[in-house]
Every structure is written in structure tokens, then in C-alpha cells.
Symmetry: C2
Subunit: 484 residues, 2 copies
Amino acid sequence: VRAVAPPDRSSAPSALRADSFKGAGDFGPRVERAAVAALKAALVAQLPEGGLRDDPATLAAFGHDESNTLFAFPETTAQVQAIVRACMAHGVPVTPVGARSGKSGGSLPVRGGLSLCLEKLDHILLVDDQNLIAVAQAGVVLGALHAAVEAKGLFYAPDPNSLDWCTLGGNVAENAGGPRALKYGVTRDHVIGLEWVLPSGEAIRLGRRVHKGVTGYDLLGLFVGSEGTLGVATEVTVKLLPLPKVVLTALVLFQQVEQAAQASTRLLQSQLLPRCLELLDDVALAAVKGAGLQLPQASQAVLLIELDGPTEDSVLAEAQTLEAVCRAEGALEVRVARDETQRAGLWAVRKSVSGALKLFEGRKVSEDVVVPRARLGEAIARFKALGAAARLTVATYGHAGDGNLHTNVLYSKAEQKPEVDALVAAIAREAVALGGTLTGEHGIGVAKRHLLTLEQGPGLIAVQKSVKAALDPLGLFNPGKIFP
Amino acid sequence: VRAVAPPDRSSAPSALRADSFKGAGDFGPRVERAAVAALKAALVAQLPEGGLRDDPATLAAFGHDESNTLFAFPETTAQVQAIVRACMAHGVPVTPVGARSGKSGGSLPVRGGLSLCLEKLDHILLVDDQNLIAVAQAGVVLGALHAAVEAKGLFYAPDPNSLDWCTLGGNVAENAGGPRALKYGVTRDHVIGLEWVLPSGEAIRLGRRVHKGVTGYDLLGLFVGSEGTLGVATEVTVKLLPLPKVVLTALVLFQQVEQAAQASTRLLQSQLLPRCLELLDDVALAAVKGAGLQLPQASQAVLLIELDGPTEDSVLAEAQTLEAVCRAEGALEVRVARDETQRAGLWAVRKSVSGALKLFEGRKVSEDVVVPRARLGEAIARFKALGAAARLTVATYGHAGDGNLHTNVLYSKAEQKPEVDALVAAIAREAVALGGTLTGEHGIGVAKRHLLTLEQGPGLIAVQKSVKAALDPLGLFNPGKIFP
């Protein structure tokens, strides 16, 4: 099975650029130009034509303008191994790159060196409707996997916003989530096997092709979400579910965001487990006004809720509970999508929020904190108050059901960046104080590494670093990420 | 909240004894008696009265008769830390012990030394129906957690057979499963936070109290299922689900085990996801004959299937599909439990299989392999053929839906053990050849470490050992387990 071609990359939101993180701390010495030249000479014969690039067009496309950066596009696991081994031999940092749709700068070569681009490993190898598993190479676009799996009546749940261009390997590196994580879990919950190239260049197979197994340590668990710092996936085996039979999508309008937050908390306490429970506040709604959503003036917040289940009757029964709970919290209106077009329309609005917020004032920083579900309303109010005190606009939207808020700080002038960064840090501090975590699905990367100690103690960080040192003793695999 | 008292330990199946594994290879030198004496002298003042024992009654109760073994019963995390630190200082191996209900010998002190018994850490600290989480100490009995959680209308899914006496800490160490793993996953899928004492004696908190989060490496994933070799959990935070509203339990009778296996495969291909799908073959049925199950002579295999869902109608609709699929595969009869008593009766039969098989010929070795779901029938036939060739009885039962078979080799005389071990190895080899794995939920421990290389290559084993060495450089934390 050949995956569909990835969509035009220009449709992706502009990738994070290395210079966005100029202020984010010391990444260690940049690699010497001579070492990169020696690496290039050693590798060029081992890769297919065009498999090694440092031309200006590639540099521009990947958002870099440094001359000590090299881009490799291997087509086989053996080529990935050769590249990693050569990088280690030449002391050149190697940074795995998927579709560059990440939100924490994980694929940025902050010390220069080789960018290991997996996009040519783009074959779906197996969709097995007997055993309910799929096997795909790391560069397969998630949307292509969804399509291949759904064509057989099966379901792969993770659905990050970027699913039409992000890759499975990137999902593994970042442990990607998405709206459906509420009911179905994140990437880690679905990956059962990996082919993995270690920082040593050795390729190992780990995990299994069956749904269950506890042989040895769960290195799968360790590698998924390791943000490209412990090696790189070349092939991924995932478990599949039967495609849910009935899906119902509803948009619930509220006057105030506090009511929407409260309704979200109550819904999860009423024995319902929607597959998605998304929130958009007033700023997010204002940003997507042009996206085709007609709302009464009074509605300053919405919940986008999706239920799935085995029969129409069972889903409709849950929808009645949903409506009753939302009405009790003051919902103005409950709109149910009556067909696939209406459903797609509601999701198009939700998916356009991230881009629309960027255009709203010209610039933004996107947060990704998680707070306990029952403190959602309190968290949103505190974040807005922090924004007001800093005279910056805070927009909140995201996976309310998980307590995972994409709190965005909007601004217009580059000079405001220090105040923006201070506000982002304050929001992170507040989320941790509320009993939450720094990042629900974006990862730490370079974007949040200076905040890591807000959440994790020195003992926990030391253990992680000892694991990193055991697997990557030279410290050349995606350096400068996660740890401050 | 105080947990209910653990049930009388004498009701537990007799624990694996160290001498069961006399032939399982070299565990390294047994600890010197003098080192244990020095450790005892150092620790006695740091633990509460009765917190350190080496009396004959304790030795007998724990199935050991070695004089260089010491049992510690800490009541606080600080005491656990003191014990671990003292063991490291005195060069004495330390082996975490839960309820000794494990199936792979993980809690056996194969080199002697200190057995770290967590049973006094038995408090349920929080059941939060606002945020759908629970926090409990490692020594809490799983059944007590179930009761506390279900009293609030919530659900903690993992349900190993030993749930009335096994502990949450043991579940974490072994990544325990159970019948409901088919729909709801295993322990790893539910643990979101841990307090963990490292081999260094340092206590760290990892994970979180919210359902979602990707800050740093997923050490939770690594530690869950590490079989007591990377440290020990003292406190566990789990996520909870709403208690499923409607549950339907059915017993389906087949003439032949091949039909039952085929029906199991077909059920999972018919868009159904039962929460449990268990199989018992002719030998297992013969063993439990006295347990109150009346079956026609012609029925030589059964499936025990449990569906859950949001409404009675939706579950009944799925039950109709279930019946149609099973009838098409030749089911003789589909019995649906009509009330809670009948339901409990069916499960009592299923739960009595393990013990009944032990009594059947006097001795048994229990396998725990997993095979791809679609090859279940083929696997059972091959295992039985291997048994026939070795003139040993093979019983097969277990989690058919997961492909996780508790294949048991029955025998009567100690002299048969070498042939039994050879048959067990042959079954393991066959499972791996079929695309499966050595263990679905019991772990490797000492029971299967000599088989590990059947499934895992040297590269994968080396990575695991490097992680182990990074965290336990002295190699004193539960030595002799997992790795050959």
C-alpha cells in the first residue's frame, strides 16, 4: 500500500524557526563548519541522489539560514543508520525531522548539524483487519493512515490538529494527542511496536504485533514522547479499534466562558465520556468569525462536543443527558450537526482557531498546559486575569475535557516578547500550582525547557538525564531539547 | 479512607517458591550471612516494632527457609528509603514484595537478602469523583480499590484473577492485566502518577494528577512493568472512568475448541469490542466440573463474553450480533446471565480454573503467551499437538480476545519436570513464531528469563540492561530477574 502524497507543505502553519528561541537559553556550542563538511563528504555516496542537501532553497524551506546545517532524506532504515553512525563519528548533532508541524521546536537543529528528514519513509506497510493492527513507516502522513484504516471499517484514534500533514514518526516523538484523546487516549496508548534507530546507529525492533504483552521493560513507553532525543522511529505498529458506528457532533452556546467550563466539568461527572469535548472562548470565537460560524451576539463561549456509540438510540440518549447538563449550566442553545457537511463545518471552525489567532494581532505564543478537570473554570479566569494585569490578550481554547488548554498570548510587536514570555511563564506556574502540568501534547522541546523545573524536581530530572546518557553518551541526538 | 483488610493470605494460591526455580539458571552469588546481620543491626532501630523479621514463622509463611533472608515491613515512604539505602550500603540485594500473587517469581529473593514487603502501606488516599482519579499506597489490595471507586459510581478497569488479594504496587510492578484488558487496557494504561523509590534510595514523584501530560520522558511507562528491578512504587495515582451502565455476561457453548477460537476471532472482526472474551477448553472445563457449571456432554469448549455499554438496548443489540456470530461458528447454546447471582456464578467458574487445574494432576506450569488474534485456533491446536507429542496434558484457557492464552502443562510427578520445561519452551517458541509474545501479563521474572532471547534480540536486551545499569549501578535491586 502506498500512502497518498502528503499535502502541499505550504499549507502547514509556518514552522517554528530556530531564531524564535534565541532567548531560550544556551544550547551548547554550534557545530563547526568543517565537521559538517567532513560529514557531507562521508555520507554523499551512501544516500540516493538528492538525499543530502544544503542548497539555499532547502535551507529556506526548512526555515534556516545557517551554513552549518545539512539535510538528509533517507529512503531506508539502513540509510538512517548510516546517517546516524556518520554523525556520531564526525561529532555532528543529528535532529530528527517529521513534517515540522510540532509546537515546541523539537525538530529545530539548535546547535546546527544534520537534520534527519524522515518524509521519504512514507509507506503504509500493513492494515490488518483480522488482527486489528497497522504498520507504517515513520514518514507516513497521519491523515493517510486514517484514510487507509477507515476504508477497512477500522479506527486509529489520535487526531492532532495537523493530521493532514503531520507524520506518524512525529506523533511518536511528541506523543501526539488531539480532541479524541479524551475517550481514546494519546499516541502512546496505541503504539504497540517500533523499529527504532538508537543514537549508536543500531536498529532494534521493540514491542510486538499483538495488542498485549509485557516481555521486558516497556521501552515503547519510554521512546514514545522522547522528543527525538533517544533515537528515532523508522517504523511504527499501532493497534486499531472498530470504527465507531454512530457519531453525533453538537455545538453548545454559552453566554460566558465560566458557564462553558462548568458545563464541561459537570458533563464528565454525569457518567458521560464524550469522545471530544472542546472549548472556545470569546477571543477564539472572535478570531474565527470569518470561518462561517454564525453566533448570536450574546454567545461568548462554546463547547464542541462529540459523542460516539454502538447505536443511534444509545447516542441520542447520551445527547439528551448532554443537553440537560448544559442547559442546567445556562446554555443558550444546543446545535446538533444534522449531516456530514454540518459536522465538517463545525470541525473546520475548531481547526481554524490556531491559525486565526495568529492573524488576530499578528503574533502569538501558544501554551499547552493541563489543569485538573474540575478546576477548568478557575484556571481560565486566572489566566485571563494574568493577561489583563500584563495588558496582553489571552485566548483560551482546546481540549476542555482533558483539562488541556491551548492558552494563547496574542501580541503585535516584537518588542513585547519579553512581557509575553513572562506571562507564559506565569501561566505555566499557575497551571502547576493548580495541580496540572506544563504540556498536554506539544512537548517541552526548546519552547518550555526553561520552565521544566517548575514541574519536575531535581531527582526526577536526574533520572531522565541518566537514561539519556546511557542511550546517547555523546549527547549528539537532538541536543538542546527538554532539559534546561 | 482506610482500605478494607486484605483477605486471609492462606486463600491465595500457594506462592511460587524459590526452589521452584533451582534449575532456571545462575542467579549470581547468594548474599553473605554476615552482610545480612550487619544490615539487620543497622535497620532495626529505624523501623517500627515487628517491622524487621527473620523468625521461622515469617520465613515459613513467605516460603523460604534460608537463613540469609530478612523481611522488612515499612509503614512510610521514608522507611522504604532507609531500607533501600541500608541495603545498598551493606551490599545486600533487596526484593520488593507485594501480595506474592505473581506468576513469574518476581518477588522471590533468589540471591537472598532483604524482602521489602509493602503490605503495610495500605491506605487509599483519595477517590476524586470530580477529576476522576484515585491515589492509593502500593500495598492497597486491588479489590479494596475497586470497592472504594465503584461506591462513587466510578470504574478502575484492571482486574487480574487475584484481585481480592493482589496489591496495586504488585500490579504496577508486573503491569497486570485481567479479562477487562480487552476493552480497557492494562495497568500501564491507567497509571498516571507514581511516588517511586529509586535503587539509590531517593524518592521521586513522577507523572501527574491530570489525565494527560507529556512533560519529559515517560518514566511511568518505563517503571510500570519493570518487575521490581528499577525501584519500587510507594504510591500510585490512577485515572478512573465512569462505571459502565449496563453489563451483559454470556456463556457460549461449543462442541470443539477450534469453533470457540474461530468465533472469538470473528467476534472481534464484526465491529464488536466486548469488555471480556474468555475461553476455556475441554481440560479446563473438566477441571472445574465441580464448580457448579452444568454443561451437556457434547460441549467441550466455552467462551465467556461480557459486553458493556451505555443503554440496555445498545447492549442487547450487540448481544444479538454476538449470538449470530457464535451460531454461525457452530455454537450449541448461548446462555445469558439473567441476574447478578448468575453472573457471579459464571465468573466464579472462570476464576477457579487456575486453582482447579493445579489439583487436576497435582502439578502444573502455567504459560502466558500471546498470539495474534486471528491465529488463536491454530495456536491452540499446535500447543495441544506439542503436548500430545510429549505425552503431557495441555489445558488452554484465558483471554482469547487478546490472544493471551494461559496454556497450562499438567503433570503429576516431580521427575517429569524436565520434559515439562522442554514443552513450555516449545510452546513459547511456537507463540513467538506465530507472531506473538512470551508473556501477556505475568512478566518474565525468573520463570521465563531463560526464554527471553527467543523473542528479543541482543540489541534490545543491551538497551534494557543499559537503562538498568544507569538506575541501579550496584545491581542489587531485585537481581536475577528478567535478563538471562
